[in-house]
C-alpha cells in the first residue's frame, strides 16, 4: 500500500457545506476540521483544487482558520486534473502518492482520466480517511509532524536563492543559519533511525543502527549519540544529521556520521567535522573515523580528507579494535583547535565532559 503524501481537497460541499458563490455563507463541520488537523499531524500535506473565485475562497479558508494547512493551492476555473498535477509538481511528489477528494463525479472522472495514478475519494469518504491504511503511516516522526512547515520554508528559501546573485557564502550568511548539536534523548531516536536509513549519500560507514541498538548506546557512558538540527530564518530543516562516537583513552572513534543531502550545500558536514575536531583537541585526544568507500559517499570521503584525516598509522589506534567490517577503512587525525564556522551559529554540548543520561 503506497502511503498518500498529499491530499488535494475540493471546497464546495466537500471540505465545507454549501457553495460559496451561491450561498455566500458556508459551514466547516468540526469533524472535517478534525480530519484536516489529524492528517497534518501525521505529516500528510494538504492542498486545494477548487473551481471558485480565488480571493473569496482563500479569504473564507482564512476566516475558518484552516488556510495555513494548505500548500500551493489551485483555486480558479481551470481543469482539476491540471490543478492536481501542478500541485504534485510543485511539491515534487509522484502522482501515485497524491489523493484527491471531490463531491462531483465528473471532476473525479476528469482527474482519473488525465492522471489515473491519483487516488480519488468522494465527500462521503472524508470522515473515514483517517482510518484508511494509505493515510496511516506506521511511524510519525517529529519531522513528519513539522513537514508542512518545512515545505513552506523550503519554497521560500529556493525562491530567495534563485534571486540572489552575490557569493554563496554571503547568501549562507543571509540565511541566519543555526545548527544545534545535542545529546540524543528518547524522542530524538526515531528521527535518527530515519536518517541513517535515508541518507545513503552522506552516511560514511553505510552501517545502519537500529532503534534498539541506539537506545542501548544512549545509556552507555562510552558512547555519545548526537543529533543535529538546522534552522534558518525561513524555518526549520528538521533533523539533518546524526553522529555516533565511542570514547577510548587517547582517541575518539567516529562510528557513524550521516548528514541529510538536503543540507550538504550549506556546508553542514564540514561544520560538524570541524566542531568535532575542535572538541577532541580540547579533550586532548585524536580522532579515528570508520569509513567504507561506496560509489555514493565520495562527498563524505572528501569531507574527511579535506578536514585532514589520513590513513597514516598511529599508536592511538592500537586499543580501539577492528573497524566495523571487512572493507571499512580507519581514517585518523591528530587534532588541533579549530575556529568556529563563519556562516552559521552553533549550539553544542561540551563533549570534554562525559555524561550519561
Amino acid at each position: 500500500m503506497t502511503l498518500v503524501k498529499c491530499l488535494v481537497w475540493d471546497l464546495d460541499n466537500t471540505l465545507w457545506q454549501g457553495t460559496l458563490l451561491e450561498d455566500g455563507d458556508v459551514r466547516l463541520p468540526d469533524e472535517v476540521r478534525a480530519v484536516i488537523v489529524e492528517l497534518d499531524s501525521r505529516g500528510i500535506l494538504q492542498s486545494v483544487a477548487s473551481k471558485n473565485d480565488h480571493d473569496l475562497a482563500w479569504k473564507k479558508l482564512e476566516e475558518l482558520g484552516v488556510a495555513e494547512y494548505f500548500l500551493v493551492p489551485r483555486i480558479g476555473w481551470g481543469r482539476k486534473s491540471d490543478a492536481v498535477m501542478g500541485i504534485a509538481r510543485d511539491l515534487q511528489f509522484a502522482l501515485s502518492t497524491v489523493a484527491f477528494v471531490d463531491d462531483t463525479p465528473t471532476e473525479r472522472a476528469e482527474v482519473n482520466y488525465h492522471a489515473p495514478e491519483v487516488r480519488c475519494y468522494t465527500e462521503q469518504d472524508v470522515l473515514s480517511l483517517i482510518g484508511l491504511p494509505e493515510f496511516s503511516p506506521e511511524v510519525v516522526t517529529v519531522d513528519a509532524r513539522r513537514r508542512r512547515e518545512m515545505y513552506r520554508a523550503n519554497a521560500l528559501r529556493t525562491e530567495e536563492q534563485e534571486s540572489f546573485d552575490g557569493p554563496d557564502e554571503d547568501f549562507l550568511r543571509s540565511l541566519d543559519l543555526v545548527m544545534e548539536i545535542r545529546r540524543a534523548d528518547d524522542d530524538d531516536l526515531s528521527r535518527v533511525e530515519e536518517l541513517t536509513l535515508r541518507t545513503s549519500q552522506m552516511n560514511a560507514t553505510g552501517v545502519h543502527y537500529p532503534d534498539r541498538v541506539l537506545r542501548g548506546l544512549l545509556a552507555d557512558p562510552a558512547h555519545e549519540v548526537l543529533t543535529i538540527t538546522l534552522t534558518d530564518r525561513f524555518g526549520p530543516h528538521g533533523a539533518v544529521g546524526v553522529l555516533l562516537l565511542e570514547r577510548h583513552p587517547g582517541v575518539w572513534r567516529l562510528k557513524l556520521l550521516a548528514t541529510s543531502c538536503r543540507v550538504v550545500a550549506f556546508g553542514a558536514g564540514t561544520v560538524l567535522l570541524n566542531w568535532l575536531v575542535d572538541q577532541a583537541a580540547q579533550a586532548g585526544v585524536h580522532l579515528a573515523a570508520d569509513f567504507r568507500p561506496t560509489d555514493r559517499n565520495r562527498m563524505m570521503e572528501i569531507a574527511y580528507r579535506f578536514a585532514g584525516f589520513t590513513q597514516d598509522p598511529c599508536v592511538c589506534l592500537a586499543g580501539i579494535g577492528d573497524p566495523a567490517g571487512g572493507d571499512v577503512q580507519c581514517l585518523h587525525l591528530v587534532t588541533a583547535r579549530r575556529e568556529g564556522p563563519a556562516t552559521m551559529r552553533l549550539l553544542s554540548p561540551d563533549l570534554t565532559v562525559a555524561t550519561s543520561i
Partner: protein
C-alpha cells in the same frame, strides 16, 4: 598521448583554474589566492572542485591526494593535475 594537458603549460592551467574559481565563488580569485583560507568553501564545493579537475583533465584524485593542501590555490591545483597526468603517462 592525446591528453590535452600535454599541450597545456602550468601557466595556462593556473589561469584556467583561477577563472573557474572566480566564476564559482563569484569573487575575483588570483592564481595564488587560497580559496579555503576564508572558510568560504562548503563540502559541496570541495566535491565540485574534485569532480571538475577529474573530468576536465582526465585524472583520478584518490586517497592521500585528496588533502586540502592540494586544492588551496589555482597554482597548487595546476601542479597536482600536471603531476597526476605525468604519472598516468609514465605508467
Amino acid at each position: 598521448m592525446t591528453d590535452r594537458t600535454t599541450t597545456l603549460t602550468a601557466e595556462d592551467l593556473e589561469k584556467e583554474l583561477a577563472a573557474y574559481l572566480s566564476e564559482k565563488t563569484k569573487t575575483e580569485v588570483g592564481p595564488a589566492d587560497d580559496v579555503f583560507a576564508s572558510g568560504l568553501v562548503s563540502s559541496m564545493f570541495a566535491m565540485q572542485l574534485v569532480v571538475h579537475l577529474e573530468s576536465t583533465y582526465d585524472v583520478a584524485i584518490i586517497g592521500p591526494e585528496l588533502k586540502i593542501d592540494n586544492f588551496r590555490t589555482a597554482q597548487v591545483m595546476a601542479a597536482l593535475v600536471l603531476r597526476l597526468s605525468d604519472e598516468a603517462g609514465d605508467a
